[in-house]
Structures are given as C-alpha cells and as structure tokens.
C-alpha cells in the first residue's frame, strides 16, 4: 500500500484485562473521509486516540506515509484533532485559541495574524474573534475548534464525535459543511461517531467497529446494500432478520430454507449446505405478492399498521413467531389485522449473512 497516507498494522490496545482494540489493520487513503462507526466500547475512540498519539498501542504499528509514528508524542505529529467537547482554552479569546498551534510552532506574528483571520473567515467566525469561548453557543464553539485544528493544515484531521452536542438542525448543517471542507481542502478526515446516519451522510468509507475489531469496511451505499454480518445489517439502517438454513448454492445465489419455504438470496461470502444463517431484507424492499406471482415468497399474518407520514409501516408476524416490518406506499389501504399475507422481494435485495 504505497498510496496510503496512514497505515494501521496489527494494532491492539489493552486496558488491563479489557481489549479495547483487537489486532486492527487498515489503510487510509489521502483526501479520504473515513468514519469509525460503532457502539460505545467498540474501540473507535481508542483507535482515534492512538492515531492522535494520546494512547500508545499495546502492540502493532502506526505508519504515516510509510514512516512509523507509533512512539511519536502528539505534538510531533502532523495530525490535529477536533475534540468531542471542543476543548477550547477557556482563558484565551477565540483568536488566541485559533492561533495557538501556530504560536507553539513559532510562526511569525504577521503571518500568524493573517492565517488566523483567514481560518476564522473560513468558518464564519471572524466577527466573534474577541469573544471568550464561554460566550459562544455550542455550534460557534464547534466552528472555533474546527478552525483551531484546520489552521495548522495537518495531513490528517481527526474528529471525535464533534457534532454530538449540537441540535439536529445544526448537526445536519455541520455535516454538509464538514464534507464540503474535506473536498475543498483535500484533507484527510478521520471521523468517529456512533450515529449511523451521520456516517452514511458524510463518509467515503465507513469502518464499522465491534468489540475492538472492524466488522465491515466499505463505502456507505455498499454497507447498506451488502452488509456482511447480521450485526452490520442490524446496526446500519433497519433490517428484517429471519433465521434460515442454507440448502445450497446455485448460480451465485444462496438457497435458504425458512421454515417450510425456500427462498433465494445473495451473499458476499461462500456458504456450505446445512449452515445456519440469517436472511436480511430492508423494509423498503418487501411488498405483498400478487396472486400467482413467482419468486421469493413468505407467508405471514398481518398485524397493526403505523402511519408515519410519507410511508405506512406494516407489521407482519411470520409462522416462526418472528416479526417483520415493511413499508406500504402512500395511498395504499393496509391489510386487515389478522388476515393472511404473502410477502415477496427481489432476490438481489435479500442478503444471506452470518452472525
């Protein structure tokens, strides 16, 4: 991987008995917007902190453009961080906060002044440069924190759940703005979040983490359409998960037995007959089958329907007792509760996944 900017090689981090990051290897391309997504305790923040230099890996190596930086203290790394709660210096003005990195690097005062003004304008905070951080709203503090990191033109910008404390509207705005900055500046962004929607919106690639390991590393669309495990299918968006037994593989499709029914699905990995698996289907791809329609078919009993505005969510109980939900298009009359129903979906929308 000569083109990668950052390389993690077999990186592990243990805190006593607890394994926070478990033999993690991956590469980050220059200019990429990469997101570590995961529940709390999945190791995403620890990974970020090791890249920043705040934590030393227990084993493994971190390389930047091929040179090892594992042992390098944070102040010698060409990497800057936007912290979760911004971590602005309370005793300095906005201007002093933004200029701090340049001051520590002994950049001449005149150049410093020019660049600080530039950075503040970039985040539209120029008019508030004399304020103290406590006089700013959360969104404004966020912008200052961003300017304080970006002004140093780091090779990599790390962002640790930076939008967590903002309200929804502001968060959406900032998401677009971050994505824009990433494109405009050509900087590499490594982003940590537990919010899957945020990850899907902004990232070029998502590393979905679970128990200190990367469960899946792929582009957002691919992660949504082709989850590799049940965990991913469940974590990203909404999935109906049905227990299935692999009957065999035919022409690139997996033949699954679900109760008495047989359905076909696609999968990213090889399967052997007899294996236990899950069938994952998104609610938007399920629909009631027309009488006599061929293809994948599963019988169930209609239950309640919930109107949510643009769509109506229809709940169905399957013969094995599990519950399934699908989206009725607007204007459709929901089936009566208790009535029998046959569901169908395109073969390529049914994914066969393991645990």
């Amino acid at each position: 991987m000569t083109t990668s900017l950052l390389d993690l090689r077999h990186v592990s981090k243990r805190f006593g008995e607890f394994v926070a990051v478990d033999d993690l290897s991956m590469a980050v391309a220059p200019g990429e917007f990469l997101t570590f997504l995961g529940a709390s305790g999945s190791g995403k923040t620890t990974t970020l902190r090791m890249i920043a230099g705040f934590e030393l890996p227990t084993s493994g190596e971190i390389l930047m453009e091929g040179a090892p930086i594992t042992q390098l203290p944070p102040f010698k790394r060409d990497i800057n961080t936007v912290f979760q709660h911004y971590a602005l210096f309370p005793h300095m003005s906005v201007r002093e906060n933004v200029g701090y990195g340049l001051r520590m690097r002994k950049v001449p005062a005149a150049e410093r002044a020019r660049r600080v003004t530039e950075a503040l304008d970039m985040v539209q905070m120029g008019h508030l440069e004399a304020r103290a951080p406590r006089q700013l709203s959360g969104g404004q503090q966020q912008r200052v924190a961003l300017a304080r990191a970006l002004i140093n033109r780091p090779r990599v910008l790390l962002l640790d759940e930076p939008l967590g404390a903002l309200d929804l509207k502001l968060r959406k705005e900032m998401q677009l703005e971050l994505k824009h900055l990433n494109r405009q500046l050509g900087l590499t962004f490594i982003y940590v979040t537990h919010d899957q929607e945020e990850a899907l919106t902004m990232s070029d690639r998502i590393a979905l983490m679970r128990n200190g390991r990367i469960e899946q590393l792929s582009a957002p669309q691919e992660m949504y359409d082709r989850p590799v495990t049940r965990y991913v299918a469940d974590f990203i968006g909404e999935s109906n998960l049905l227990r299935a037994t692999v009957r065999g593989v035919e022409g690139g499709e997996v033949v699954l037995g679900i109760g008495p029914a047989t359905v076909r699905a696609v999968s990213a990995r090889p399967w052997a007959a007899g294996a236990e698996a899950w069938l994952a289907v998104r609610p938007e791809y399920l629909r009631p089958a027309a009488p006599g329609e061929s293809g994948n078919r599963l019988d169930g009993t209609a239950r309640e329907s919930v109107f949510t505005g643009s769509i109506t969510r229809q709940y169905v109980t399957m013969p094995d007792g599990s519950s399934v939900v699908f989206h009725l298009p607007a204007g459709t009359t929901p089936p009566a509760a208790g009535s029998s129903l046959t569901l169908t979906w395109p073969v390529e929308r049914g994914i066969c996944v393991g645990e």
Partner: protein, 332 residues
C-alpha cells in the same frame, strides 16, 4: 388553594382529599421558607461574629484614663498607632514573615498538588489524605513538636551530635523567627495545597491533550494552559497562607523567643493582656482587620478576573469562600 386554613381538607381531583398542615404552608411560601432556613445561621453569625467585631470597633475609640477604661470617644489610639514607628514596623515585619511563609508554602504545595492531580494514579486519595491528616492534629501539638525537634536537647541537636557533626548543641535553632517560619510553613502548606489541588483536578484532561495536539510540548502545555488555569487556586492558597500566618500568635510565643515581640499578633495579645490597654489593642486589631479584608477583597477580585467560566476555578472559589469566613477570626 389560597385562603385555606391549617388542617383544612382540600378536594383534589377525582374525589381525593388532602389535609394541609402548617409545614405545607411554610413550604408554599417562599419568604417564610427563606426565613425559617436562615434564622439559625444568621443569629449565630450576628451573636458570635458581628457583635464581637462591633465591640472591638467601639473599644478602639475609647479612652484609657489612669489605666481605667472610659467610654469617652477619642481618636488618640489611632494617633498613637500611626504616630510611632513601633506599630507600623511590627505590622510590616509580620507581613514580611507571612510573605516568606507564603512563598515557601507555594513552592512546596504547587509541585505536590501537581503530582497528586496528574501523575499519581494509585492511592491518590490516600496520598491526598496524608497531606490533609496533619490538619486533624491540634495546632498546639504541631507547634510543640517543633520545640521538641529544634530544642537544645532536641531531636535535631541529638542527631547532629551523635553523628559527630557538632560538639555543642546549636542554640540558634529554636527561639528565632526562623523557627517560627518553619513551623508556620509546616502548618499552612496543606491550606495552600488544597485549593491548588482542587483547581488542577478540575482542569479537563482534554485541554492538556488539545494543547499537545497543537504542537505544545509538555512544558509549553504547563506554561500556557495548566498554569494560567490554576492561578485562581494559587491566589486562594497564597491568601490562606499569608492571612493565617500573619495573624498567628501561638507559633511565635512557643518558638519565637525574643523575635516573637516583633509579630503584630503577639503585640495585640500583650496589649490586651499584660499592658491592659484594650483600646490600643482594639485599634491595632481593627487596622489588621481592615488590611486583611482589603487583601481578601483584592484576592477575590483577582481570582474572579482569572475565572474563565469553565470548570477550572470553581473548586477553589467554593473552598476559598468557605474558609474565608473563618479567616478574620484568626486575625482579630
């Protein structure tokens, strides 16, 4: 429910009934509630703090005639106080001692507080307690301990003699301003440490990390982030050490020998005692009180100016205010 009387039964909701007691009425009335809560502490402070100070102030304007206290009002006490060099010199001398005690206490307390707050991981509370526990031992015992250590037949002389470093016991150890300062430093260093530790503890770890992330070395991080943020604690701690050691009179009596006469608190003690000149003693006390309150006010202003609205400083502010209330007693 307005106009309801005690014990009155009030209908609530679906046929439920509630009996109003006098306690409910107190709770419902904000003024009454404040009055009930504040009555005891306010009377306590008035009886034991405010009145004594007023008596003190009044006495400083009374005239002493033929060794007898009269209730004639006069400014003579203050004229005498500022007219001779004795009293201002004594106050300055005491301030000099207090300043030196403060500086040494700071030099000891700051690094220790820093270590406790940032470097020590295991047994952190135990170590902090080790610093605080001496405060549980009576002040007198701690002052006497120095007598035992520094005395002619004391521990230190004994040690030096058994090591053959000296033949004759050193007599300058005890009964000098140096012994007084040593004891005062020992006694007031924990007071200096506590607010500094509280402030350091409150500095979010992320601020230090952010500084290092922005290319500041460990020293630069201390210099530009940790130190400025800890200044409110430093000011609070210095105020404690200075005000408390300036008002101290027990250590000088026990350890000061002839030098103890140079301490202002001991002067006040002898004015009230041996000299039986209460009015002059009161006048000196009032001057000291005004000086001390000015200092506290200044320190408070400074601290406020340095309190940046983040968590840092809040700890010290609280602690300082708590202890500041006890301080004037120690001085007057």
């Amino acid at each position: 429910m307005s106009g309801s009387k005690d014990g009155e039964v009030v209908e609530v909701g679906a046929g439920g009934r509630v009996t109003l007691t006098w306690l409910d009425r107190v709770r419902a009335n904000r003024r009454l509630r404040t009055f009930v809560a504040a009555f005891l502490p306010v009377s306590w402070v008035t009886a034991l703090l405010l009145f004594p100070y007023l008596f003190l102030l009044a006495h400083s304007f009374f005239r002493l005639r033929d060794g007898q206290l009269t209730h004639e009002l006069t400014l003579a006490n203050y004229q005498r106080l500022f007219g001779t060099s004795l009293y201002p010199t004594t106050i300055l001398f005491s301030a000099g001692i207090a300043a030196r005690v403060t500086i040494v206490s700071l030099c000891l307390a700051y690094p220790l507080a820093y270590l406790l707050a940032f470097k020590v991981r295991k047994h952190k509370n135990l170590l902090y307690m080790a610093v605080i526990i001496p405060l549980w031992v009576s002040y007198l015992v701690r002052a006497y301990a120095w007598k035992i250590i520094l005395g002619q037949e004391g521990v230190l002389n004994g040690l030096l003699r058994s090591l053959g470093i000296i033949d004759q016991p050193l007599t300058f150890l005890l009964y000098s301003k140096w012994a007084v300062m040593l004891a005062l430093i020992h006694i007031y260093t924990p007071f200096t440490l506590m607010p500094i530790y509280a402030v350091l503890e409150a500095i979010p770890k992320a601020l230090k990390e952010a500084s290092q992330d922005l290319y500041a070395s460990r020293w630069q991080t201390f210099r530009h982030v940790v130190l400025p943020l800890s200044l409110p604690g430093v000011i609070a701690g210095s105020t404690f050490a200075f005000v408390l050691s300036m008002g101290d009179f027990i250590a000088p009596v026990l350890l000061g020998g002839n030098d103890s006469a140079l301490m202002v608190s001991n002067l006040v003690v002898s004015l009230f005692g041996v000299a039986y000149n209460w009015p002059l003693g009161a006048a000196v006390s009032v001057v000291m009180l005004v000086l001390t309150l000015t200092l506290l006010w200044l320190a408070n202003r400074l601290e406020r100016a340095m309190n940046y609205g983040g968590q840092p400083g809040r700890g010290a502010e609280g602690q300082k205010e708590q202890l500041a209330r006890q301080l004037p007693q120690g001085v007057a």
